[in-house]
């Protein structure tokens, strides 16, 4: 009896969904993002405003990054995602594989003061297949409660087991770790990729990693580093600055970020090749890459606008009232010593280095 009822409501529900989908199909847009606090920041930061202004409803889906789902849709010829939030490296790979629409010629809105978009954006962030929207950083974070005495202040301290004994957290991937290793070994940021292009530089990076290998706990997902800090599993860890910000401001953890030697990378928006709502997707992309939208996100989570005009407009956190400026990777105080990720460099070597890194881990 009860089962029957559930069954019926299930059928009813799915019929409703199908019907509803048909109705929405005209004015909706499927936007795929990373979920969690970041997706929430986007919704509050500009999705709502977009729907208000255009009447286009946004259907938000979560994914864990990567290109597999996109490729599966494109290969099968049944694309149901429109706009995808992505990191710079998959953007490049996916672009090569023809998974994204060409958006390099979109007429992007100018800055509030009228500066054309081409000048307002950071260099090279209007790409063939995607438009950069934010700056995030991979940083070293620590929990002061787990460290006695002097606190670490530099990237060198992360590799200094004598001064700061204890376990470290690092991402299980060659990307970011090799750069940290060389900078931690005293290489100036502007020479890192040059040096990594040579076998000696590569060996030097691995040697540096060797020196702390026994004390490293490798993380896989972005949620792990703040958790490990809170649990006292590690005293320091590499982490994405937004995650640490979230722990600091929302969860009121005492975590601290070492901005010295951080790695900067961009997040971008892209349109899946063959997107069902291509025109709406383009409208969305223009809206989302406006200064106003970028600032809207930055007032919710510590990812900096990718337009020069956006930086000064970042104000207080929309919920807690925390001043967001000092949390921005691009804040002058934080920008004394850092390295921009070289996506081109990685795209040529990532496969090889992933194999090499895993082989190194296994030894």
């Amino acid at each position: 009896m009860r089962k029957n009822f559930q069954f019926r409501s299930l059928i009813g529900g799915s019929l409703l969904c199908i019907a509803a989908n048909c109705v929405w199909a005209e004015e909706t847009l499927t936007v795929v993002s990373f979920g969690g606090s970041y997706a929430k920041a986007c919704v509050d930061g500009y999705h709502k405003a977009f729907t208000e202004e255009t009447g286009i409803k946004i259907k938000l889906e979560d994914y864990n990054g990567g290109l597999a789902q996109i490729r599966a849709q494109v290969d099968a010829g049944s694309v149901h995602w429109d706009v995808v939030d992505t990191e710079s490296s998959p953007l490049l790979t996916g672009c090569d594989e023809g998974l994204f629409e060409y958006v390099g010629d979109l007429d992007l809105p100018p800055a509030p003061d009228g500066t054309p978009a081409s000048e307002d954006f950071f260099d090279g962030q209007i790409q063939d297949c995607g438009i950069g929207t934010l700056v995030f950083a991979t940083v070293i974070a620590y929990n002061p409660e787990n460290i006695d005495g002097e606190m670490p202040t530099t990237l060198q301290d992360f590799f200094d087991l004598e001064k700061f004994p204890g376990r470290r957290g690092m991402r299980r991937s060659p990307a970011s770790n090799l750069e940290f290793a060389l900078m931690g070994d005293g290489v100036p940021p502007d020479q890192v990729f040059e040096l990594l292009s040579t076998e000696e530089g590569m060996q030097r990076a691995f040697r540096k990693l060797d020196s702390i290998k026994e004390h490293v706990i490798w993380w896989e997902t972005g949620a792990q580093p703040p958790q490990m800090l809170a649990d006292g599993e590690v005293i320091m860890t590499t982490a994405w600055n937004g995650r640490i910000f979230n722990a600091q401001v929302i969860e009121e953890q005492p975590f601290k970020i070492i901005w010295d030697g951080h790695l900067r990378d961009v997040g971008a928006l892209t349109i899946v090749a063959g997107a069902p709502n291509l025109e709406n997707a383009k409208k969305f992309l223009k809206f989302a890459t406006s200064t106003r939208a970028m600032v809207g996100v930055a007032n919710h989570i510590s990812y900096a606008p990718l337009r020069h005009s956006g930086l000064p407009l970042v104000g207080k956190h929309a919920v807690t009232g925390e001043d967001m400026q000092p949390h921005m990777p691009t804040y002058p105080e934080n920008s004394k010593n850092f390295l921009w990720n070289d996506v081109e460099w990685w795209s040529e070597r990532e496969d090889e280095l992933t194999e090499r890194f895993n082989a190194w881990l296994s030894r």
């Binding site: 290109l67 023809g98 292009s197 490798w218 896989e220 599993e233 090889e352 090499r356 895993n358 296994s362």
Partner: protein, 402 residues
């Protein structure tokens, strides 16, 4: 006359066929087609051949000790420009890059600048744009990537590569990873299987010997892990096992270990084994329970009446009869372990990287589905071998799941 007969006979034949159709369709759609696609992808990749057909024609006659002649340069120049226009140049670049790492950017860069070159000597012009065109290795890589049918993925998936002289060689030592991962995967799977057996057998025995009402309760307890998400279960093991975790806290509190020598239970092999054993235990218990429930108590009584003490009776009479359950459970757990990677990745530390993680990497990140497919095929062959051994040893029809 004939029509009456066929009318009479057809329904009886068509009904079972009709009933089986959804299953056939399901198997086709969810298994045969993806599997077929996978096998095809592991050995067939026409992208480069389609983008650079004329160049590859010319390279066939090229003796690969010196740079190709200028007409090869001219051909590839025009083909690069046209593939830039139809946006297939990226596919060429990634594929050549897989063979010769660090050559991805040369293609797009060259094609972009070539459009502006008026020069007739394209060879010099291209080398001027990027001196990597002077590298014979790059040309070899292009020729090799141009093969539609290739064993490269399979070689790579066992740490081999085509050698200069046409033979096969091992990849350089710091790149060798896949064989290590196969062995580690098999090792972890075997260890998990043994642990599941050691823990699961007594539990299944207990469930099979208590009264029906108790058995139901115990089965529910066994099945509860099934009802929670894998990630939640794995994460809760992290919370339990980590250095400042519950288990260590308890051990310190009762004084078994001192506070500064807390046990490393996670981010190592121990963690992998504990978490995976927990996750896969029901797959051992259920077939064991199904078989044990069907063993009448008279057998143990008969053994006792014949003078066997309980241990002898168990070893010589009960255990052999539970073997179909043992092998079914072990087969299931072993095969499932081979494909597990989320759990070991989260709790296994450096040793938590298994072969499936590389499959996931190549599917998700590098988009090298050919290599992912080749590794999967090798894994699949391993599974089939296990299945075959199982079939020979006990017979697959004995597989019971409850």
């Amino acid at each position: 006359m004939a029509s009456t007969r066929s009318q009479n006979q057809e329904p009886s034949r068509l009904v079972p066929i009709g009933l089986a159709l959804p299953l056939v369709a399901f198997v086709l759609v969810t298994f045969v087609i993806p599997l077929g696609t996978m096998v095809v992808q592991s050995a067939y990749d026409p992208q480069v051949a389609q983008a650079l057909p004329k160049t590859l024609d010319l390279l066939r006659d090229w003796n690969d000790s010196a740079l190709p002649s200028s007409d090869v340069f001219e051909t590839i120049a025009s083909e690069l420009i046209s593939s830039r226009e139809d946006r297939s140049i990226g596919k060429v670049a990634t594929r050549v890059n897989r063979i010769k790492s660090g050559s991805r950017s040369v293609f797009a860069k060259t094609a972009r600048r070539l459009e502006r070159v008026e020069d007739t000597d394209l060879k010099t012009a291209m080398i001027e744009i990027d001196d990597r065109w002077e590298d014979i290795e790059l040309w070899r890589a292009i020729r090799s990537a141009g093969q539609k049918f290739t064993a490269r993925h399979y070689l790579r998936s066992v740490d081999l590569e085509p050698a200069q002289d046409g033979g096969i060689q091992q990849v350089s030592e710091d790149q060798r990873i896949y064989n290590t991962l196969y062995f580690r995967t098999v090792y972890v799977s075997l260890a998990v299987t043994v642990l599941c057996f050691l823990i699961g057998y007594p539990i299944a025995y207990a469930i099979a010997s208590v009264s029906d009402s108790w058995a139901k309760i115990l089965l529910v307890i066994v099945l509860v892990p099934f009802w929670t998400s894998l990630l939640v279960r794995t994460t809760s093991w992290l919370v339990l096992l980590q250095n400042q975790g519950v288990v260590n806290d308890v051990l310190v509190w009762i004084g078994l270990v001192s506070d500064d020598s807390r046990l490393a239970l996670v981010h190592n092999m121990t963690g992998t084994l504990i978490a995976m054993t927990h996750v896969l235990l029901p797959f051992m218990i259920l077939p064991l329970y199904a078989v044990m429930r069907s063993i009448p108590p008279d057998y143990m009584r008969a053994a006792a009446s014949l003078g066997a003490n309980p241990i002898e009776g168990f070893v010589k009479v009960y255990f052999p009869q539970s073997l179909p359950g043992v092998s079914a459970g072990c087969l299931l757990v072993f095969i499932l372990s081979l494909g597990y990677y989320i759990t070991p990745a989260l709790v296994g530390g450096t040793k938590g990287q298994l072969i499936s993680n590389m499959i996931a990497y190549h599917i998700q990140t590098s988009l090298n589905w050919g290599l992912a497919a080749a590794i999967s095929v090798i894994l699949l062959i391993g599974v089939f071998v296990c299945y075959f051994i199982f079939d020979r040893w006990v017979g697959i029809d004995k597989l019971k799941l409850g």
